[in-house]
């Protein structure tokens, strides 16, 4: 049977998908064990035991500031910032993406600006951001939003812009004005793409969150990572990064499921 047609069963998919990840874990363990046998206090590739101790410590120590347990306090703070930043970015992507994609005058006006913002690395202009927004939560949330929104806006705009022209004309013959075309034709068809765009933005969003928390912060997963990076405490960094990856993968899976559930027409077999 051709590979293009070789559909695996659910169980086989799990096995196949797990294998490379397991392999990486095993390679890591072997390398870590080798380094530890050479230098028992090696910090760069900690053994599971070491990570376990370090994490147990963070899971049981209360944070001096909030009184909550450090690990959960970090998680909560980061998720809040991420949620707000991604939420704002999504909102912008939807509104501007639809307007830019559907309305030529808006496209002409805003598209160069969005492209410009998209290609300006926001971390290069952090000082300006600080002056404008201070050093508090706002600047972190805004950094995430500015970091991921332009790509999302451009993605949605391109998707809306490539809707078949027949659909727009059909809507016009049905008496739709520009607003109705946006609300009833472009918006619903942009939604699955928006969810896909959020999924693709998750990775960059975490990058910007961590960068923001590295710059100035007193709590958060990125704060902790950058604090202990000073001491090359990979026994904290690796579990934290794994935890971030797990959270992000859960969000990814949830978004994919939401898309299939909410927009069945976009996932059915085409005929």
């Amino acid at each position: 049977m051709r590979w293009v047609n070789w559909h695996l069963s659910k169980r086989d998919r799990l096995i196949a998908g797990g294998a490379p990840i397991l392999l990486l874990v095993v390679i890591y363990l072997i390398m870590a064990a080798a380094r530890h046998s050479a230098n028992p206090s090696d910090k760069i590739l900690p053994l599971p035991g070491g990570m376990f101790t370090a994490m147990a410590n963070l899971l049981t120590t209360p944070d001096p500031l909030s009184g909550n347990l450090v690990f959960w306090a970090d998680t909560l703070a980061s998720l809040q910032r991420l949620g707000l930043g991604l939420g704002i970015a999504t909102l912008f992507a939807l509104v501007l993406g639809l307007l830019i994609g559907a309305l030529p005058p808006i496209r002409a006006t805003l598209s160069p600006l969005v492209t410009g913002i998209a290609v300006i690395p926001p971390i290069a202009l952090l000082p300006v951001l600080f002056i404008a927004l201070g050093l508090g939560e706002t600047s972190k949330v805004v950094l995430i939003a500015i970091g991921v929104a332009p790509v999302m806006i451009r993605d949605i705009a391109a998707h809306v812009g490539s809707l078949p022209r027949e659909q727009i004309i059909k809507a016009e013959t049905l008496g739709a004005n520009s607003w109705q075309i946006i609300a009833r034709v472009a918006l619903p068809q942009a939604m699955p793409r928006l969810l896909q765009a959020i999924r693709l933005a998750l990775g960059p969003a975490w990058v910007f969150l961590i960068s923001a928390e590295a710059v100035a912060s007193d709590i958060g997963l990125g704060y902790r990572i950058f604090l202990v990076r000073r001491y090359l405490s990979m026994d904290v960094i690796i579990p934290y990064v794994a935890w971030i990856a797990l959270l992000a993968i859960l969000m990814d899976v949830a978004l994919a499921a939401l898309s299939r559930k909410a927009f069945p027409w976009a996932h059915g077999e085409s005929r």
Binding site: P164, L174, G175, A176, Q180, A183
Partner: protein, 259 residues
Amino acid sequence: MSALLSLKNVWVEYGDKVVLEKVNLEVAEGAFLSIIGPSGAGKSSLLRLILGQETPTRGTILLDGQPLKPECGPDRGVVFQRYSVFPHMTVLGNVTFGLECPAAPFAARLFGTARRKAEAEATAMLEAVGLGDSLHLYPAQMSGGMQQRLAIAQALIKRPRILLLDEPFGALDPGIRADMHGLITRLWRDYSLTVVMVTHDIKEAFTLGTRVLALDKRRHDPHAPHRYGATAVYDLPLRGPPVPAPEPETAPEPVAATN
């Protein structure tokens, strides 16, 4: 009666390829114009011109004596050759949309009784095209012929002044096709629509139309096949009202006048 639609010396060219040349056409209000012609002659292009989807490279198009704006409104309805419906709306949603647009310019949706009324009207139309059983399917779950009927229902529910049909019955079996003939003839008469229909079925063209237009190339240069475009080679006005298609036994009740 002055012409509703008139094309004057209209040309359509793509690069150095001439598709339509020197097309002159006057369509009177209430006419049922059938257009026939070989594949690739430019029939669909002509409909796109009337829709405002494309602009002619040369010549002018007048609607009600005014130059045609390069955009389309609810005065024109269309069934495209590749029956395109909205993939994200159910069958019912696709048809109700046309009723919601004028009624809810800001909300873009109807609610409550207004919605139920619109849905009832849409359902009646869908029953007329034989999709009464499939109200809640998405287009991707339907057969080709069902999608085509949906596109027809979607266009007809608006009762547009000018109805543009591009091979609307091509994917339908003879039984349903006869039903559709009956339906369209009835609506055409009851609402005095103007219909422009492209078809490959000569019998259909003559049975339904009050006038048959044949598009084809007048000249053909085998060494430069693109140099000559198609134009109206025959234009046959048929006398008298068109013979309505025989009412088939299984024909649904006419939909008319629910609004």
